[in-house]
């Protein structure tokens, strides 16, 4: 559990000895949210501290197939191919629990002298958390992880070109919460949960989800960077467990017709540890802070879609009546709107942001959401009227969220408020990386309107996302 973490200790060597750590795996996420890192000998790891080890700068400037971004530029890169560093956050160092010799640490991409690189997704999230801290506010949040689990191994899935895979489950029906389906996944999930616990990642519940072989896992809320770290670690653990058990999993947003993986994000704001969204003296108990925050989230929602739905595949999910939201709307206890507000008590009042796709980068997604909220606080905005109807199949006069990767990128490009919050150069780079993704998709002759994802999407996203 968490007491195994290095956090708070003075002597690293003593901690490594006590936990028998001989190797350390570093881990950071690239722009697409893929986990990158190295396995380091203990001596190499400790000798490199506090800055960490080097890696090629294109690790942060490549696409999801590690093709360097040759066609656009960011000032963190060097004029010839060079190195940057992965700087460990030692507060995240933890024994692997399964591999008795392994420690695992989350890192930030930094310059070789240890200065932060603003484009690094984890650094980006820290920037937004700091801005809130400057206002005396903190965030409590959590993610809902959805993924598909198949009886086929990853190798088998690839051999079958990801077609006609066998979802883990008891019933051929597309049911939800069916305990017979859940039971078929218990062996897998028990192993995942044991490893989460070993990593100090508390969880609340898991269940059979609507798609065949689909599982939802809920984690206990915490502060943003901790939660995003946990998501990245949980996804890695889920992948590793599948490999060990000869199964396969995917967080791909839309791997099969009709069902998608989302990653809903719940959050609330606190001041000095006290929740701030609920005010029993305010209309409908909605505090002024909540209203301003909500206004920022809704106003910037179309622009944040680019970060919440990062891949070409993410947009196959955003369809009317398919469960994910398609409009920039909000409503109390309304799961068809982009934002579901829950304002039922001082401690439970929160916002569920429902736009995120299963393949999102948790650092980016949360950073974009917090940046959106900050714009609302800065402008003291009031939210648009609450949407009390079903937010699907409604007239075109209600603004739709961007439904493809380029429209989303252009919408973000047009949002000066969000660009300012998230650092304009970083946002521009992200937009161009999405243009690159779109061009790569089309260069391969793919059709975004086809009802099912093509092989290119599976090869790019099935295992890696």
């Amino acid at each position: 559990m968490t007491d195994k973490m290095f956090k708070g200790e003075v002597n690293l060597d003593q901690w490594l000895d006590r936990h028998h750590v001989k190797r350390v795996r570093t881990m950071a996420t690239d722009l697409d949210g893929f986990a990158l890192g190295k396995y380091c000998a203990r001596e190499k790891f400790t000798k490199g501290l506090p800055i960490g080890h080097n890696l090629a700068d294109v690790a942060l400037g490549s696409d999801s197939e590690s093709t360097p971004h040759l066609g656009f530029w960011h000032s963190f890169r060097r004029s010839v191919l060079g190195d940057i560093a992965l700087t460990p956050d030692l507060s995240t160092l933890v024994p692997d629990g399964q591999d008795p010799d392994l420690g695992q640490v989350i890192c930030d991409f930094t310059f070789l002298d240890g200065r932060p690189i603003s484009l690094c997704p984890r650094t980006k999230l820290k920037q937004q958390v700091q801005k809130l801290d400057d206002l005396g506010l903190s965030v409590k949040c959590t993610f809902e992880l959805e993924f598909f689990l198949y009886d086929n191994s990853f190798d088998d899935a690839e051999r079958k070109q990801y077609q006609n895979l066998s979802p883990v489950g008891a019933s051929p029906l597309q049911t939800i919460y069916l305990l017979k389906d859940s039971f078929r996944a218990v062996t897998f999930m028990n192993h995942v949960l044991s490893r989460l616990e070993a990593y100090g990642i508390p969880w609340e519940a898991w269940n059979d989800e609507n798609g065949m072989g689909q599982i939802e896992l809920n984690l206990v809320p915490d502060e943003p960077v901790v939660m995003a770290d946990r998501v990245v670690r949980a996804k890695q653990i889920i992948f590793e467990t599948a490999v060990e058990q000869g199964l396969s999993t995917t967080f791909m947003a839309h791997p099969q017709p009709g069902f998608s993986n989302g990653m809903h994000i719940h959050h609330s704001l606190l001041r000095a540890g006290d929740p701030q969204f609920y005010d029993d003296g305010a209309p409908k108990n909605r505090s002024q802070l909540l209203r301003h925050w909500l206004a920022g989230l809704v106003t910037t929602m179309p622009a944040t879609v680019s970060y919440l739905c990062p891949s070409v595949n993410s947009y196959r999910r955003l369809r009317e009546f398919a469960a994910p939201p398609v409009t920039a709307t909000w409503g109390e206890e309304n799961k068809s709107t982009g934002i579901r507000l829950i304002c039922d008590g001082p401690k439970t009042a929160r916002i569920e942001h429902r736009v995120g796709a299963g393949d999102l980068n948790p650092y980016h997604a949360l950073a974009a959401i917090l940046a959106g909220g900050l714009t609302g606080l800065a402008a003291k905005q009031e939210p648009p009227p609450e949407f009390t109807d079903l937010a699907w199949g409604i007239p075109a006069s209600v603004e739709r969220l961007p439904s493809d990767i380029m429209t989303a990128a252009k919408t973000l490009e047009a949002c000066d408020a969000l660009k300012q919050e998230l650092v304009a150069e970083d946002v521009e780079y992200w937009i161009k990386s999405r243009r690159h993704e779109w061009m790569t998709f089309h260069r391969a002759g793919n059709d975004p309107d086809s009802p099912v994802p093509g092989l290119w999407e599976f090869q790019r996203y099935f295992a890696a996302s």
Binding site: F72, W73, H442
Partner: protein, 210 residues
Amino acid sequence: MAQLFSVMTQSNAAPMELNLARILRTSLRQTGGRQLAGLPSTLILQDTKTRLKLRLVVDPKTGITISRARKTETALIEGLFDPFSGEPPKFKLRGAWRKPLLKRRLTQLFQPALTPWETAAEAFYKATSLLDPNEFTIESYSEDTDIRHHWGHGPERALILGQGATLSHLYNGYALLIDDILKGRIQCQASMRTIAIITDATTEYWMDLQ
């Protein structure tokens, strides 16, 4: 006063549609839209590489609207409209021998006259907002025709080498520099940063974003 014509695409247009739209805009600008008068009100074309079908709705007074056609619709025009080929589209008209005038009009429409590459290069560098002449000096050179073009006077230098036809396609907006470099059609000697920024500028030009 010259008539202005628009070429519209749907909001989620693919690169092929955007590329075609830009070609059509150039074409209508060059001819003042004369070729629109003799065209059918709807043209269905099919790309032989992707099999994607597009519908061009022609209004002689306002311009052309491009949208996706249904797979069951019959294509009048078939050809290679691949936006990444680095060349103008190549196409065939079904029953062309019976419609020589239509063939001529469509050829004008899909293959507008190319501006000499050095003139097009000058226009490109002048228009782009990503390149500062005080920062860059860019020399383009066509090896077969021995023509050079210089732009800018900054310390960051770049040399772009290729055949005249390739440079012509690049600076007329038919090609993406990144594709030309990776496919070996163009050599670009410069720092990685300079290559990336020039490439970015040509991509924005190609996408009509500048």
